[in-house]
């Protein structure tokens, strides 16, 4: 891929298409809903274009997008309506209508176990294992300390081990 401009308005479409999967999956990992992930994806890139920043490098841009995604899901989860939902569980009504979710659910116990983790552990685990981000990069993206990230990873792993007992997963 051609090197992307670090100026927002010069390459926004290419940036959106490059990072859409990442944002979408992170949103999904945090909300457990592809429908919510759709909305969050849209919101994140609207914020991206509105922010109109110039980034230091691609890592900076990626960290920014992750941060915004986390914030968007947090806002979404704290909205009045969503307070009545349990985000640890995928929306019951979605399974029947959402082929992607249904496919994913039937495909992997790992995903189910991950989605059952508390949000903060889920996010850390997801970024570490799926996005291959370092602890330092996760800490920066989440606006927290490396120590905190390590704690979340450790606790998340413990929970996953418990949930995946009997399965052949070396967490």
């Amino acid at each position: 891929m051609t090197e992307l401009s670090l100026r927002t308005r010069e390459s926004f479409d290419a940036v959106m298409r490059k990072y859409a999967d990442m944002v979408y999956r992170l949103a999904y990992a945090r909300t457990g809903s592809t429908f919510d992930a759709d909305d969050i994806l849209q919101e994140v890139f609207l914020r991206y274009i509105r922010a109109d920043k110039t980034y230091n490098d691609e890592e900076h841009r990626k960290a920014w997008l992750i941060r915004i995604t986390v914030n968007c899901t947090r806002s979404f989860a704290s909205s009045a309506w969503n307070k009545h939902r349990d985000f640890a569980e995928p929306d019951e009504n979605e399974g029947a209508e959402d082929p992607a979710l249904k496919a994913a659910e039937t495909k992997s116990d790992v995903m189910k176990a991950l989605l059952e983790l508390p949000e903060k552990y889920r996010t850390a685990i997801y970024l570490f294992y799926y996005e291959d981000m370092s602890v330092a990069a996760i800490a920066k993206s989440l606006g927290t300390t490396e120590t905190n990230v390590k704690t979340r990873l450790s606790r998340g792993r413990d929970m996953l081990k418990e949930k995946l007992k009997g399965a052949e997963f070396d967490v």
Binding site: D38, A80, S108, P118, Y129, G143, R152, E168
Partner: protein, 458 residues
């Protein structure tokens, strides 16, 4: 093994191509819009903001409805609070981020309609109601049109508080904002007036819920607390000297209906918003201050006049905006500010307005009737700074005589400076639950403040 399984699972989760195309089109549209010329938040930015409460009838309140970012019309007779800013010149920074300009920014406020527009244009908050999108878009346009002169914001009308207070009572929760009097007054007036015209219906599917502080940050479980506590302990060992937490940018990206849309008011501001929101009726008691309606909705007002500029000019002070380096901001529209206000006479507010313009007591009393309670007016007119400070202090601020310290002040200053200011462990303990659960505060900021407080109490 786990990693491979995770990849296998998540690889199938991806956005639909049509969605990407739609977002691409939206981004193109957004990119074609002119950049916001100014930052427009009355309370947070720059220090030369002021606020106007419109108590006239038939005004329209734009409130965020239950966190959905939707626009609702308040009763025509209800007192409507509108934040306003007087004009001041600014030179936008090269990157368009005027928040870093400190003194050099044009006055204006980030109005509720703009915020509502920002949220309602996406289906994230109002997926099923396109009417909101139209209204939000109109409001956004209005906001841009008005930006050259001044911006007026409309924080939640007092009856919003009152509604929350009623809910609190029904749920046997404490009504810490004590807005019942305002509610009663609003209801009395409403009974004599015609109902408001409808701008937008609330989402019928939305679950109405009181937006009290108690509801806003309730997600932390004991387990998470333990996690944070462990992390804090581990960090304390790693960094014996408590690090000063620098605010990278905004403190929240959510809207706070309790404070009328000033998302992190409880964190940043030492006083309740009624105190630094100067009612239009009070403004009009001063010759030379001109308050004009600037839009057809009656929701936007412009405050003009040399006297007004002189008044708010007194309170202009640079804001402390740390270089955010490469730390991504929480929200592009929510830059950090710290104005370091620790006394009532250091900022524009009802008190300083009355003092500066020598508004006679009876005139002030008449102008403030219905906006403040009788008791509040009496205290205000005593002129006793300590009493006024205590009366209008935010529940999250620590009051020490004539001095007052917002949570943001605590976050910015060291423990030694807390001590120097006379803030005792007892003061902190009394506010502990509130200071460690500030509504809409970004998680990392809350964690940092909580760590600092815990350290101070050891």
């Amino acid at each position: 093994m786990f990693k491979e399984q995770l990849h296998t699972s998540f690889d199938s989760i991806r956005p639909a191509p049509e969605l990407l195309d739609r977002i691409s089109a939206m981004m193109s549209e957004e990119a074609a819009k002119p950049k916001k010329p100014i930052y427009m938040n009355a309370v947070k930015y720059g220090g030369i903001a002021a606020a106007v409460a419109i108590t006239a009838g038939a005004a329209i309140a734009l409130t965020q409805n239950g966190g959905f970012g939707k626009i609702a019309t308040e009763n025509a007779a209800a007192p409507v609070t509108t934040a306003a800013m007087a004009a001041a010149e600014t030179v936008p920074a090269e990157d368009g981020d005027n928040s870093k300009d400190g003194l050099g920014f044009i006055s204006g406020v980030q109005e509720m309609s703009t915020e509502a527009a920002a949220t309602t244009t996406t289906p994230m908050f109002a997926p099923e109601n396109s009417a909101y999108e139209d209204i939000a878009a109109d409001n956004a346009d209005n906001a841009y049109d008005a930006a050259e002169e001044a911006y007026l914001a409309t924080p939640a009308a007092p009856e919003t508080y009152a509604g929350a207070a009623g809910e609190a009572e029904a749920n046997e929760l404490p009504d810490i904002r004590q807005e019942k009097v305002i509610q009663e007054k609003a209801e009395e007036k409403a009974a004599d007036e015609s109902p408001a015209m409808i701008m937008a219906e609330p989402n019928s599917d939305a679950v109405e819920e009181p937006q009290l502080e108690y509801y806003t940050e309730s997600c932390d479980s004991v387990e998470e607390y333990c996690d944070d506590y462990d992390a804090a302990e581990a960090e304390a060992e790693e960094y014996p000297a408590l690090p000063e937490f620098a605010i990278a940018a905004g403190t929240s990206d959510n809207s706070n209906p309790v404070t009328g849309g000033f998302d992190t008011m409880q964190f940043e501001e030492p006083f309740i918003y009624q105190f630094y929101t100067i009612p239009e009726t009070l403004m009009k008691t001063v010759d030379g201050i001109i308050v004009e309606e600037t839009d057809q909705w009656g929701a936007h007002y412009t405050v003009m006049g040399e006297k007004w500029r002189e008044f708010i000019g007194m309170f202009a002070k640079p804001t402390t905006t740390p270089d955010d380096g490469d730390v991504p901001p929480a929200s592009a529209d929510d830059p950090p500010t710290f104005r370091d206000i620790t006394a009532i006479d250091e900022d524009f507010n009802i008190y300083t307005f009355i003092e500066y313009f020598n508004v006679p007591d009876e005139t002030a009393r008449e102008a403030l009737a219905g906006y403040l309670t009788e008791e509040q007016i009496n205290i205000l007119l005593t002129g006793d700074k300590a009493s006024v400070t205590a009366e209008f202090a935010s529940g999250y601020a620590i009051v020490k005589g004539r001095k007052i310290y917002a949570p943001l002040w605590l976050e910015r200053y060291s423990a030694d400076e807390w001590k120097a200011a006379g803030i005792t462990q007892k003061d902190i303990k009394e506010k502990y639950d509130m200071l460690t659960n500030i509504p809409y505060l970004r998680e990392d900021l809350q964690e940092a403040l909580t760590r600092k407080i815990d350290e101070y109490l050891r």
